[in-house]
Symmetry: C2
Subunit: 748 residues, 2 copies
């Protein structure tokens, strides 16, 4: 730190630097890529395509200066003023020197101004993104890599300078990579559907969990302590334990600064909220705070007198672009992907909210390109990854911002600060920035209230919320995001895996069929069972579907079949008997022959209960033991298709498949088994309400053959019921099915 030679002794990755220089052609690659994008836009529709790629050219010439200019100017300045403290504070989160937060509040915003389509969102530094960057920088460049042995054996010093240089490089590289991911992977390869998995409960819980990470990572600045850096799962827990252990070493000066700032900020925010009704422009509370804090720190010399850590050197001016550290790319793919997804997810959801409110359209693909270019070009200029901040966006809108011009003006404000007055803030205590972060996280902490509201509205979503919070707190934001998305996808399976199975009955006098257990006045149709599952039918619930069907219809196919076999055996024995005693008793013979012929017509002859159990017990005891438990049921089964007995076996079963979204092979096989089993028992199965895709799956799955034709399909439950009731007259059916047939003959 003291002389330049020192740095040479640091185990600093020299090959890496060489690699970087050799491969600074990567920026060349980027230019080539941009050019290819450009080429893609050539052709006859060049102009419109180019205009949609650079929306600025489309809207700026038409900018309604008279109407929007003043609003955009005021709003731009207000937001620019907010960028200053937020940029510096979030730079601490990303573990880079504060000035890089200012860079991140400048370059990306300018680029978004050119390519973005949302008029109201304030892109720039964002706490969640910053803490994700921080976990990368601190993992890849931990303090321990930059310890320099002192002159005597025990003392060591930290080479802060080269550590920060390395961290800036890492932050810029991961930002560059996330930008590339956004443009290429999400934008061009249309991988953008990933953000559809970011459901609202998940995003809210995720940002809350990220806020917890943010708070924990800032504790060290508030207490002025130096805890060890942990990475990987559970690092938050370890850090909290470490911080608690180090509380004894708290720097009193820093703690006082923290407490005073937090109290002051909260009070000032409350006051400004009260005053908001009277003053159109919000009071820049945070700007005033850092100005006061800087002056106090400078006057009281907090740094040397009380050992309060301050922001330190803020170089004036801008830096030349540097190539990303290609050698590091491999170790940060996962982080960059998480950054790309989260950054886009946050920005697009905020953008859509305001687009809907102010009635214009946000092009989600163009947004991806805009954010991706902001990040990748920003990464070349040592920025860290940006997204858009809720609080700044609210200020931008409430102060009258009406277009992207407000963002551009805020970038100009930051440029002025960077060039001229940045260095004035060198004496600002870091604890003040930490305090600003805490106070800004209020909104995210309020999201804990979601638990209560979700508890009332949707318990599964509440579980998603809680699990996302826990997973993200325990694993870090990157891994936690993946785990949370995986969990929320699993809930979809859970929800369809435990469906509600119902028997439907007719609402008297109508063609409406409703679940019997839900409605008092619906009536089951005698001899016909209408069965519906509330969920789609697929591998995870196919078995339950069959079980529920057997249970609800009161038909146990196993019993039915074993009974059938017994009848068959009996029939054969009786035939033999009959043949032997053919001429003995003419009366008896006639009776038996009628039973046989009845059976051959598909109707089982009726035997009394005692008759059957008496004769069969010995011969088929093994089969019997499982099926004789409820002799009444067996009687019902025996009754066969006779509708006059008390508990008849239904003549037909109608499966309402309207809630089925798709059929996999297991689903097709399940339906086939149901059809076959009941068919063997003499019960006809009809399917109704099948969607087009479901019928196609059945066709492809060889459900239909010469025995099972499409005539078992009906458009609605009522049609199927009418068909069953009207003595199977084919006419009704053909009227109803002709459309299906027409279409299906066209397809095949």
């Amino acid at each position: 730190m003291k002389d330049k030679d020192l740095r040479k002794r640091v185990p600093y990755h020299i090959q890496r630097d060489v690699l970087d220089e050799q491969l600074s052609c990567s920026s060349l690659c980027f230019i080539i890529f941009s050019f290819s994008l450009f080429i893609r836009c050539t052709g006859p529709r060049f102009k419109s395509c180019f205009l949609s790629f650079v929306p600025l050219l489309a809207w700026l010439p038409r900018y309604p200066f008279r109407e929007n200019a003043i609003g955009d100017l005021i709003s731009g300045i207000s937001v620019g003023i907010m960028h200053l403290p937020q940029g510096m504070a979030y730079a601490l989160l990303a573990a880079v020197p504060p000035v890089f937060g200012l860079y991140s509040s400048f370059y990306p915003i300018l680029i978004y101004f050119i390519f973005g389509t949302s008029k109201h969102i304030s892109v720039g530094t964002y706490a969640v993104m910053s803490v994700m960057i921080g976990s990368v920088t601190e993992r890849l460049a931990p303090d321990s890599d930059f310890v320099i042995p002192g002159n005597d054996t025990n003392s060591t010093t930290l080479d802060v300078f080269s550590r920060d240089a390395e961290r800036v490089k890492i932050a810029a590289t991961v930002t560059f990579l996330s930008g590339i991911f956004q443009v290429l992977l999400l934008g061009l390869v249309r991988f953008g559907f990933v953000v559809t998995y970011l459901s609202e409960p998940l995003v809210r819980a995720y940002t809350t969990a990220a806020a917890i990470h943010v708070i924990v990572s800032q504790l060290k600045y508030s207490f002025g302590i130096n805890p060890q850096r942990y990475s990987g799962p559970l690092s938050l827990i370890y850090t909290v334990i470490e911080v608690c252990a180090l509380l004894g070493q708290t720097n009193i000066g820093t703690l006082v600064v923290s407490i005073v700032t937090i109290i002051g900020l909260v009070a000032a925010k409350e006051l400004s909220a009260l005053a908001a009704r009277k003053i159109p422009i919000p009071i820049p509370v945070e700007l005033i705070t850092i100005i006061i804090a800087t002056v106090v720190s400078w006057q009281m010399d907090l740094k040397t007198e009380y050992g309060v850590e301050v922001v330190g050197e803020i170089p004036s001016g801008l830096q030349a672009p540097v190539a990303p550290a290609v050698s590091l790319l491999g170790s940060m793919v996962g982080d960059a992907f998480a950054l790309a997804v989260v950054g886009y997810g946050i920005a697009i959801s905020l953008g859509r909210i305001f687009a809907l409110k102010y009635a214009y359209k946000v092009d989600s693909n163009q947004e991806l390109i805009a954010l991706g270019l902001s990040n990748s070009i920003g990464g070349l200029f040592n920025c860290f990854a940006i997204s858009c901040s809720m609080s700044r966006t609210m200020v931008q809108v409430s102060t009258g911002g009406k277009s992207q011009v407000a963002g551009a003006i805020s970038a100009v404000v930051i440029l002025v600060i960077l060039l001229k007055i940045g260095e004035l803030f060198e004496e600002l205590p870091k604890a003040v920035l930490a305090a600003i972060i805490y106070v800004n996280l209020q909104g995210m902490m309020k999201q804990f209230g979601d638990i209560c509201s979700l508890w009332r509205t949707n318990k599964v979503d509440m579980v998603v919320w809680v699990m996302t919070l826990i997973l993200t707190v325990l694993f870090n934001p990157d891994l936690g995001l993946a785990a949370s998305i995986a969990f929320s996808i699993l809930t979809v399976v859970f929800r369809t895996q435990l469906p509600k199975y119902s028997i439907l009955g007719q609402v008297p006098g109508t063609d409406i069929y409703k679940p019997v257990e839900d409605y008092n006045q619906v009536k089951e149709i005698p001899g016909i069972m209408i069965f519906r599952s509330s969920a789609t039918l697929y591998f995870a619930n196919a078995e339950m579907y069959i079980d529920a069907l057997y249970e609800k219809t009161g038909v146990d196919v196993a019993k039915l079949l074993s009974h059938k076999k017994k009848l068959e055996a009996k029939r054969l024995r009786k035939e033999k008997k009959a043949a032997k005693k053919a001429k003995k008793e003419a009366k008896k013979r006639a009776k038996e022959a009628s039973a046989v012929s009845a059976f051959n017509q598909g109707e089982e002859p009726q035997f009394s209960d005692t008759d059957e159990s008496g004769e069969e017990a010995e011969a088929n005891g093994d089969v019997h033991k499982l099926s004789v438990k409820e002799p009444k049921d067996v009687a019902a089964v025996e009754a066969g298709p006779d509708p006059d007995t008390d508990t008849p076996l239904p003549r037909a079963i109608i499966l309402d498949l309207s809630p089925v979204n798709f059929l996999d092979t297991v689903g097709v096989k399940t339906l086939r088994n149901i059809y076959k089993d009941y068919g063997e028992a003499g019960v006809q199965v009809y399917l109704c309400g099948c969607q087009r895709g479901v019928v196609e799956s059945m066709e492809k799955g060889d459900f239909f053959n010469e025995k099972v034709t499409k005539s078992i399909l009906f458009s609605s439950v009522h049609d199927a019921v009418l068909y069953c009731q009207q003595g199977n007259s084919k006419e009704v059916q053909y009227i109803l099915m002709s459309y299906t047939h027409t279409r299906i003959s066209e397809v095949s």
Copy 2:
């Protein structure tokens, strides 16, 4: 190996042994657990509960001796004879000495005889389970742990004796643990639903992949080489490479034995298949093979003359039970869980097939208890994990086996072999056992044909099949199973994430509504749009639902709203104008006033296209640029509820929600937004076909309020259409909705 002292020098885990002795109370725990299960069965329903817990007591007294005995005896002996070669061969897979395969073919079968409910499956050793065990044993007790430095510095020998002892202990422990998992986790905690994720394509691909693992693991015996052991992902690839590299060291004698055996086996199997029609009992091809091979090996002294590896010592008699190695439990939890799931999944699916065929019931919970006890008690007797084998089951059924008695008889056969004739097989070459394994895997390899048939029937299931194969081959059977299940769950999400959106039209003269694009003859109802998604509505497709709705209905809400705003602004300006020029032109004033009143009634006044674009272009250019692209559309939008214009805005939109299985908070919010947006544009939205649970989710999600009542819900599309057409007469609706209201008032 040569003297006992040698063993002391092996780095053998002494503390582990101490631990084991101290904690042999674990078997005590097991007894206590069994007792608690017993206690659970006490009470008034003790007897029936106990009988269902020990099915043997229920069915054995009723055993139809005369009918079943002969079939069961022949079948039992046939299966017992198959157990001998299979048990020894699969022991090689599990990397334990062959005799432990015989133990595994004895104890678990006896226990299953007592507790099992399937009459036809042949439980016992199974290739897939054995190879999974093998990966555990070889991971936890690799050869390298048992290398003894020789007398001179370069030579080393392998302490096979203590290695095998350790591996047997590991195999027994993981088996014990998997049994405990089956009883406790899957059975008592009802975690058994996990097996519902084992869809048929997944199981078939998984067993095929496991067969590939089996073959690769047996190559070393066929070539007589000693490749290094790899574990973890990609180990199969490394092993294949290693085997290829070592092919030069092939033992010619072993290779000849392998080739001769394989050719002989295949030929004999073909012959026996041909002869099967004439001979009722299958020829025990494998038994004959190992007898011939043993005799040949003994006569030619293959072991010493040609260096062919033989089975080696087979101790006579049974071993006393030993406590599982508790210290090892932690390192094998994942493997044991995979074993538990796979073992149960295979057994229950085979059991169900035969239960359906022979018309009886398999109790899936009792099966879990039976398998779990077989494994956990078997684990105490040094068995390795069992499941049930397709090939043995087929033999058991085809030779006339009719009950669990056949299994018991096969266990007796194995007992005789163990006690008397086991040691005769000590000279059997291991290559012969490997050949038997290969030939037995034919069936699994034939499953590759699934790819073709699934390609025809269901592409998504084919992808599941291929991915399962790849994942299981690359990662090992344990991790591969988890990854495959995760993937197959993901496909459910994919399938519902890309639904088909349709506009429905009426089949003329009926109350049936079908997608317009699928059927030629259906007709859209003028002024009414009926929209349906083929899938459920939830977070992953909510956004697409809205987009598709806007696109299909041709209504762009953003445009509608911006237009509305313009109209509003115009109205205000006109009102001002009117107020100023109030008394100037009475005629003009009257015209404007009517327009205003019309608007207040929710109907937009009609303005001509030129009028609007001329006046507004300057003032609202910004908003305009996005919405003026298709002036015709804007005109359509303006037309408002007037059905007489050429491209009218629909009067009403009906969303058919019958395919919706559940609604999450995102879904409710989406419906609310659709209702609100169209409502602001003057289009009424009706929902129909909602299931009970969907309505409940909407109620809880505060979808309904004083403005949005349940009167927008309809039972069917036709009801909603009738309501729209009949000039909103409330009667129709109340008839239809009264049932919903009745029920809902009961609930709340």
